[in-house]
Amino acid sequence: MDFLKVKNITMQFGGLFAVQDVDFYVNRGEIVSLIGPNGAGKTTIFNMLTGVYQITSGTMEFEGQKLEGKTPQEIVELGISRTFQNLRLFQKMRVIENVLVGTHIRTKYNFFDGLFRTKAFREEEAKNTYKAIEILKSIGLENYMNSYVESLPYGEQRKVEIARAIATDAKLLLLDEPAAGMNPSESEDLLRFIKSLKDKGFTILMIEHDMNVVMNISDRIYVLDHGKMIAHGLPDEIANDKRVIEAYLGGERKHAKNRKS
């Protein structure tokens, strides 16, 4: 049984195929990168996987469970969590509260427990707060725990997003450009952190433009262009793949072909 298996998924918006017949898989414990030029459909794939979009056709399976037709909440419950390309944090909440929101679906008390501060509430709350603090420590945010997200530097906010995604007890993390807007030393730290996540048993599917990050930590790489998967392989193979270089830099041959037709 594959961990994540996606077959022939298509996303059509009116006449536009944002993603067309894309296949890929992710094995347990891997770091897989999804790269491609802007507008290639990478984030669309994340939105399809997480139930933001209902896919036009195709199948998606996670640990043997179908993902298509499920709500985003059900998908989080199964163990897939994501971050966003343009940060979507709860700006006016504290860092720790953001992470606690991540623990929401694993929190087993109801509204009345909260209102009457029952034993179940106190135990769960303590357990989750402890968990949140541990996650923040592991990502190096313990000093920002009490701060409000809006007061944090951009790079730190990206980390909060990852911490929040981890807090859902996800097995598969979808990271949408985690290194965007980071300086080289920050992205170096992030690289190390993502590697440590792998050691802790997380599986990661990542969209990233920073080739230093991609080439250094990916087990495998998929390349997407104009909604189609154009290449798949090990980092070394991808770096030397003609189609990939063409997609990114444009190629003589492609133009010539276009002109003829």
Binding site: V76, L89, F90, K92, V101, L115, R122, E134, N146, T168
Partner: protein, 353 residues
Amino acid sequence: MSRISETIKTKGLLFTVERFFDRYKWVIAIVFGILAVSVPFLGLSRSMMRLLVMIGLYSMLGMGLNILVGYTGQVSLGHAGFYAIGAYVCALLQVDAGVNFWVALIAGGIFSGLVGLLLGLPTLRLSGTYLSIVTLGFGEVVQMILKQWDSVTYGNYGVRNIPKPELFGFTFNQQNGGFYIIILVLTTLTAIGCYLLRNSKTGRAFVAIKEDELAATMMGIKTSRYKILAFVLSAFVTGIAGGFYSVINNGYIEPTNFTFNISILIMSVVIVGGLGTIRGMFFGSAILMLFPEVFRFLNEWRFVIYGLLLVLMMRFRPQGALGWQSTLPYRLTKETKKLLENSKAAADTNDMK
């Protein structure tokens, strides 16, 4: 002293004041609590007592609306509707069915909450301006029903001869400070309830929805369910406040007690005091109730001043008078601290090995 001036220099005067209030919030709360409890024994004039009762009532209404607007970020311009429903259910149950006040009060709150559920359902797909318009319409519809449904609501004539609340032979009224005692208890319970709610997963889910609904969804929060819950809780609190209002208004209520102006007044309490805070509701209510009294000598001009104040406030302090974010660290519970200490102790012993 030098430390304070240091803080003023580095962080600004406003921050220093805010931090002062945060640090001594319990002292301030206790002082206010003692003052509030001693009010009935101070021998205040009847008009003064009535004013204090109204401040309490609007604090409660503010807290009710705050659950919806301040926490969950959904605007309602029709809260007078819930207020009216609570008042009418409470009054009619007493007058026509002879139900005890306390039972009628709870029934009014529950009924209002149920209507909140019904209103919450169709508004799930709406937000912002569209939601405001639907809620505005709701407030008007409620008022129309109260005016037209003569056989039940007595129409424009209103419900009359609403009895005074009693408990163990004690009759609560304005003179003996009974109304004040009831609203003090209700407001305190609401404030505690709001505090506990805000610091639980429910409250965090509410605020998460306000901050970013898509992100909240992606964290697995069932946003529809929580938005409806916010509507129900808000309507419940407002309905209870309405039930209380029905007995303090000289024994009668009529549809014109619950006009659009009341919705706006409740909204103003929330905005002036500080969206999403509890302290702000008391402050906002006090300001808005005191304002017309203090500036009575200005006659019609006071509304000009009032409008001007609101405009200036939106320009210079949009978060509301007391709407600052806490400057204190996140409060860890006893149980959490224990867990943290245990893990630290475990780590230390590992180091020693």
